[in-house]
Symmetry: C2
Subunit: 264 residues, 2 copies
C-alpha cells in the first residue's frame, strides 16, 4: 500500500512546495515510484516545478526521474455542496490514477480549502514546514504578549485536529504529524532559541513530532526553472559547496525523521 505524505500549513510561504519537491526527488533517487497530487493547482508551484523538470530532462537528455503529476483544481460549480462533491470525486480519481506508486506526495495551499482538508484526511504522514517566526507560530498556537506562554491551540492546529478525528472515525491509522522548521537563519540565535523552546513545549501539548528542518539556503530555490534540486547535482556533474553538503544532510535528516529510508 502506498504511503501518503501530505505537506500542510495554512500559513503561506512556509515551504510546503519546496519541501514536497525535495522529498519527491529524494525518494525517486532511492528507487521508489513517486506520484504527486497538487491540491494548490491554481498557484501550482509544485506542478510548475515538476513540469520544468520534465522539460529540462527531455531537452538535456538527463538520466533523471520525473514524478507522475496529478493536478486537482478547485471546483467551478456554484453551489457549495455540489462543488465539494465534485472536488472529492476528482481527488479520488487522481489517487486512483496513481495507485501503482509506492509513495504519494500531496501539496496543499497556504490557506484553508475543502480540497486541503480532504488532503489532510489522506495523510499517513503530515509534514508542516514553518518559518522561524512568531507570525508563523501564531497559526499553531496563541501565545501571551511576551511570547513565552502558550494560551491555547490556533486555527491550523484545530483544523488538523478535526481531520485527525474524521480519519479515526473512518478507521484510518493515526496521522503522524511532523512539524519542520524552515529557512532557519544562520545569525539570530536568540529568536531561534525562543521559537525552539516554544515548539518543544507545543509538540507535547498539541501532539506533533519535531523534525530538525532546513536552513535558509539559496540552493533550495535557485534550481526551480530547471525543475532540479541539489540532490540531482550529482547527475549534472556540478561542484558542491559547503551549503549544498549541509542542505543534502538536512533532506536526509527529514527522511530519517519520517521513517522513510533513502534506499528502498
Amino acid at each position: 500500500k502506498a504511503r501518503y505524505i501530505v505537506l500542510g500549513n495554512e500559513k503561506g510561504g512556509s515551504g510546503k512546495s519546496t519541501t514536497a519537491m525535495h522529498l519527491a526527488v529524494a525518494l525517486m533517487h532511492g528507487g521508489r515510484k513517486v506520484g504527486i497530487i497538487d491540491l494548490d493547482a491554481r498557484q501550482g508551484t509544485l506542478s510548475r516545478y515538476v513540469e520544468n523538470r520534465a522539460a529540462f530532462v527531455e531537452s538535456e537528455g538527463l538520466p533523471l526521474e520525473v514524478p507522475k503529476l496529478e493536478k486537482v483544481l478547485g471546483s467551478t460549480l456554484d453551489h457549495r455542496e455540489e462543488a465539494q462533491a465534485d472536488e472529492e470525486e476528482r481527488l479520488n480519481a487522481a489517487v486512483e490514477r496513481l495507485q501503482d506508486c509506492d509513495c504519494l506526495i500531496i501539496d496543499t495551499p497556504g490557506s484553508d480549502s475543502h480540497l486541503s482538508r480532504l488532503g489532510h484526511i489522506l495523510a499517513d504522514i503530515l509534514i508542516s514546514p514553518l518559518n522561524d517566526s512568531f507570525i508563523d507560530l501564531d497559526l499553531l498556537a496563541r501565545l501571551d504578549a511576551q511570547g513565552r506562554k502558550i494560551l491555547g491551540p490556533s486555527i491550523y492546529s484545530q483544523m488538523v485536529w478535526e481531520q485527525r478525528q474524521k480519519r479515526a472515525r473512518q478507521g484510518g491509522r493515526p496521522v503522524d504529524w511532523v512539524v519542520m522548521r524552515n529557512r532557519l537563519s544562520h545569525l539570530d540565535a536568540r529568536n531561534k532559541q525562543r521559537i525552539g523552546q516554544l515548539l518543544d513545549e507545543l509538540s507535547q501539548r498539541i501532539g506533533f513530532r519535531l523534525a530538525p528542518g532546513f536552513g535558509e539556503r539559496v540552493i533550495f530555490r535557485e534550481l526551480f526553472p530547471q525543475g532540479l534540486t541539489l540532490l540531482d547535482l550529482r547527475e549534472t556533474h556540478s561542484s558542491l559547496t559547503m551549503s549544498h553538503v549541509a542542505a543534502r544532510q538536512e533532506v536526509r535528516e527529514l527522511l530519517r525523521t519520517i521513517g522513510v529510508t533513502e534506499e528502498s
Copy 2:
C-alpha cells in the same frame, strides 16, 4: 479623500501582512489617522498583530497609536453569487466605517479570492512584496528553463491586469502598482542580481514600479507578540542595533517610493 494602499500577492508568505503593519505604524507616527481592513481574516495575521498591539499598549500604558481595524471574513453562504454579493456588501460597510481615516491599508490573502479581487479594485497604490526567488517570480511571469527570458505574464499579474481594467471601466484613477523585494539575503549576491535584472525587465513589460525593499532581518518579525514594530522602539527606550537602523531606512524608502511622506 482617503488613500487606499492594498497589499497583494497570490504567492503565500511574501511579506504582505508584515509590510502592511510597518506601513500603518509609519503613517501613524507621521500623524495620519490609519484604518486597516483585513481581507485575510481567517488567518488574520494583520488582525492579530493589531490586537496584540492594542493589548500591549493598554497593559503597559504606552503612548502609541493603534489603527482602527475592520475584519471582513469570507461568506458562509452556499451559493457563489449570493456569497459574492454578501462579501461586497460587508466590505463596503467596513470601508464606510473607516471614512474618517486619512489612509486605509488593506491586507489580502496569499491565494486568489473574491474578497482579494474586490480589494485590488479599491487600490490607489498596490504593493506586492516578493521573496527573492524564482518560485515567487513564477506568479508574476513565466520564464524559460535558464531563468533568463520572460515568456509571458502569469496568474497574479493577469489578475492584477483584470482588476485594473475593471477599475478603469468604473472611472477610477489608475492603480499605481509597486513591487517590493522582501527578505533580501545579505549573502547570495548572484541569485540577487539575476532576480534583480529580471524584475527590472518585468517592470517595463508588465507595468509596475520597483521599490528598494526589505532585507531579511529578525527585527521585522520578533515584536509580533507585543504588536510593536522597530518604529515604535523610540517610545519604549530600547537600544537600536545596526540592523534596526537599516530596517528603519528601508521602511522610509518604501514610503518615499509610494509618495507618502512620513510627516503629514
